[in-house]
């Protein structure tokens, strides 16, 4: 870590382009699908300047997840928040995307 510390912001963003799964208990199949949904939604509603339309992105993810797996899904996307949730087991995903956004999905 120490050697990565002095890295500037741009370098970091370049490096952190992939989605990083922070915590999940989903099964493989669902996980892959959910991550894909998140990434594509956030990408779609992010302007070239880096502004993200969070509302629309969450809506899209929710609709996609509801359609795919059923049940009421709850989505939170943001740059900084904290939470305590109760979720149905095997239906939780907490990932970081693009180095700045955290995305939380649960049922």
């Amino acid at each position: 870590m120490a050697e990565d510390e002095p890295m500037d912001m741009e370098g970091y963003l370049k490096l952190a382009k992939y989605p990083l799964i922070k915590h999940t208990d989903m099964l493989e199949e669902m996980r892959v699908e959910a991550v894909e949904q998140c990434v594509s939604a956030i990408e779609k509603f992010t302007t070239p300047e880096g502004e993200t339309n969070l509302e629309k992105a969450t809506q899209m993810i929710k609709e996609g997840m509801d359609k795919k797996f059923g049940g009421p899904w709850h989505i939170v996307i943001g740059e900084g928040f904290s939470f305590e949730i109760t979720y149905e087991v095997r239906n939780l995903l907490y990932i970081f995307t693009g180095g700045t956004q955290a995305c939380l999905l649960w049922k």
Binding site: G80, E84, I85
Partner: protein
């Protein structure tokens, strides 16, 4: 209608006068100026149309006649008369004229209609009377009528009637499913945390790559090392195997605990009360699926480990030869052999080396002799004879280890149907047969027995042999035609003696364990014979009523031996007890033939093999193992046998 009658009426002019008179009253009434009490004044009013007649005219009398003729009726009706063929006036014309008519409703009393009407009236009256009577009658009855009236709620005597089906009672039922399992999760996320997470992930990825690289290098550079590791794991497996083996024995010990108890402690108590009889108690059965349908051709105890024995499987049937099998069983594990070896041809005989107990000599049906080292556990003999090294051309019936020779090399004898008794010596790499001692029966047979030569061709097929326990150069050979020859290693050219007694193949010859002069022979001609090698004739003969497969001396007594026959029986003799009858004659297997028998050197058990591939262990009851003392005194035992033989010889003489 009253008929119109012609009437004469006189009309006078004065007749219309009343009319004027009436007219006259009217003006009286209308005259206002007169008093009411005055009599009405007559005033005549003449209508304007009235003719004004003169006096004369008024006086004139006018006669009016009323006739019955209809003035409007035609008077001149003429009709054509067909009879007279002329028109004729109708003399009669209808003069009737109706001015008014009205039908009456009055009937004449005596007319039919009236009668009918009266009748109807009468009936009606009767009916009414009857009805009245009925109505009045219940009233007169009293109470009933009163009640009835009370019950009637209304004048229409209306009663309501309704039916209703029963409704099933309602019931509620609830079930609730288990809610899906939930869990709670909390975390917080800030830019710093996200940043840290990515950095950590980067670090991990880098490390993984490094590890992979390292692994790749290892694979390239250190393949042999890995192989070694693999071998180590196999070694580990073998250690595991050993543990499993111990476990297996423990399980077997548990499952066969009753048999083990019998083996160790059970003695047939009834033996104390009967003389000259004994029993055999079946213990374990040794059977292997691979030995199915193979004959047990030989059994041999290991001289060092008294619980270990080898069983050779093959076939005595010339037509049904198959591959051979050697199984080494331990009494400690009856369920599965400790070692197994397979051979191309059926195994006919085997022998453990008395000193090097892991060496096993094997003779096969195709004439090959082999030596296995049991310890090796590989399915390959350490020595094997080949055509080049002078293997037998016919089945090898018996092999027997010898003492080490001068050069300390191991050697053994074999006997085969091709008429040779051969000495095999194990040198470093191969088995040689033309070493120090070479003995061919061919020459011997020819020279010593010219009669047989003409009868049988050139060779006598050897079936069995045995070396004398004390003078090890001396041995006897049983042959297929029934003769037994005494030979010596020293003279390979001729027989020392030929014993003629058997008519069929001699399957087994066995020297007595204690007495150096006595040997037994078992033959397919149903007999077991006892010989003194100094005597050309058998001393004793025992007819067992079936082909005798094998015979064996007991190691503990000079007078006890056991034989097996092809009807599945084991016969145990103790000559000291009974010279003619067996001590025990017991059927061991039902449908199989017994082929081999052998005594254990230490324990009071025997093994018998049958032609179904099954080996049965039997425990001898106390009566069957009477001994002069342990260890058996050789001299005493010899004396015992000598005495018996003397008696037998005397009896013959």
């Amino acid at each position: 209608m009253p008929p119109k009658k012609p009437t004469k009426a006189r009309g006078k002019k004065g007749q219309p006068t009343p009319e004027p008179e009436v007219e006259e009253t009217e003006p009286e009434v209308t005259a206002p100026g007169h008093l009411d009490f005055e009599p009405p004044a007559r005033e005549i009013v003449v209508p304007k149309e009235q003719l004004e007649l003169t006096e004369t005219e008024l006086e004139e009398e006018i006669t009016k006649m009323l006739t019955a003729n209809n003035p409007t009726a035609p008077t001149n009706i003429a009709r054509f008369n067909f009879k007279e063929r002329t028109y004729k006036f109708e003399p009669m014309v209808d003069q009737l004229e109706t001015h008014y008519r009205s039908d009456g409703y009055v009937l004449h009393r005596s007319s039919d209609d009236a009668k009918r009407q009266m009748e109807l009236e009468r009936m009606e009256a009767e009916a009414i009377a009857e009805f009245e009577k009925q109505l009045n009658a219940p009233k007169e009855d009293g109470e009933e009528a009163v009640d009835d009236s009370k019950q009637l709620r209304n004048q229409f005597n209306f009663s309501e009637r309704a039916a209703q089906t029963q409704n099933n009672p309602m019931r509620d039922r609830y079930t609730s499913t288990e809610p899906p399992p939930t869990a709670s999760f909390n975390a917080s996320c800030t830019q710093w945390e996200i940043y840290d997470a990515y950095m950590e992930d980067q670090e991990r990825q880098r490390l993984q790559k490094e590890i992979q690289k390292a692994k790749g290098k290892e694979k390239d550079n250190k393949k042999p090392e890995e192989e070694k590791k693999e071998k180590e794991t196999v070694m580990h497996g073998s250690a595991m195997c050993k543990a499993v083996k111990v476990m297996e024995r423990m399980v077997n010990q548990n499952s066969f605990s009753d048999i083990a108890d019998d083996f160790k402690y059970w003695e047939d108590a009834s033996d104390q009360f009967r003389e000259g009889e004994g029993t055999l108690l079946p213990l374990w059965k040794f059977y292997n699926e691979r030995a199915k349908r193979k004959h047990v051709t030989s059994i041999c105890w290991n001289p060092e480990y008294h619980d270990l024995f080898a069983v050779g499987y093959g076939s005595f049937d010339f037509l049904k030869q198959s591959t051979g099998l050697i199984c080494c069983y331990s009494l400690k594990n009856p369920s599965h052999p400790e070692y197994t070896f397979t051979t191309e041809s059926g195994v006919m005989c085997l022998d453990f080396h008395p000193q090097h107990s892991s060496l096993l000599a094997v003779g096969l049906y195709d004439g090959t002799v082999m030596v296995y080292d049991v310890r090796n556990k590989v399915n390959r003999p350490i020595f094997s004879s080949s055509v080049k090294t002078g293997k037998h051309t016919d089945p090898v019936w018996q092999v027997c280890w010898q003492e080490e020779d001068m050069t300390k090399s191991l050697n053994f004898f074999s006997v085969s149907s091709d008429g040779r008794v051969t000495l095999w010596t194990m040198s470093k790499s191969e088995l040689t047969y033309q070493d120090v001692m070479e003995l061919k029966l061919v020459g011997n047979v020819r020279d010593a027995d010219p009669d047989d030569e003409t009868a049988l061709g050139s060779l006598a097929g050897g079936c069995s042999f045995d070396f004398n326990k004390t003078s090890d150069h001396l041995f006897v050979v049983g042959t297929e035609e029934g003769n037994i020859h005494k030979c010596s290693k020293a003279y390979n050219s001729q027989y020392l003696e030929t014993y003629k007694g058997h008519n069929m193949s001699v399957y087994t010859v066995k020297w007595n364990n204690q007495h150096p002069k006595v040997f037994l022979s078992a033959s397919a001609d149903w007999t077991v014979k006892l010989w003194d090698h100094t005597n050309a004739k058998p001393i004793m003969s025992f007819d067992l009523n079936n082909a005798v497969g094998d015979v064996a001396w007991a190691p503990y007594s000079s007078t006890v031996f056991a034989a097996v026959t092809s009807d599945g029986k084991v016969h145990v003799f103790d000559l000291n007890e009974n010279k003619h009858e067996p001590m025990c004659e017991q059927k061991i297997v039902r449908k199989a033939k017994l082929t081999k028998i052998t005594y254990n050197q230490k324990h009071p058990i025997i093994l018998v093999g049958d032609d179904r591939g099954c080996v049965t262990s039997l425990k001898l009851s106390p009566n069957l193992r009477k001994t002069s003392g342990s260890p058996p005194d050789a001299e005493v035992e010899q004396d015992k046998l000598n005495k018996i033989m003397e008696v037998a010889l005397k009896g013959e003489v």
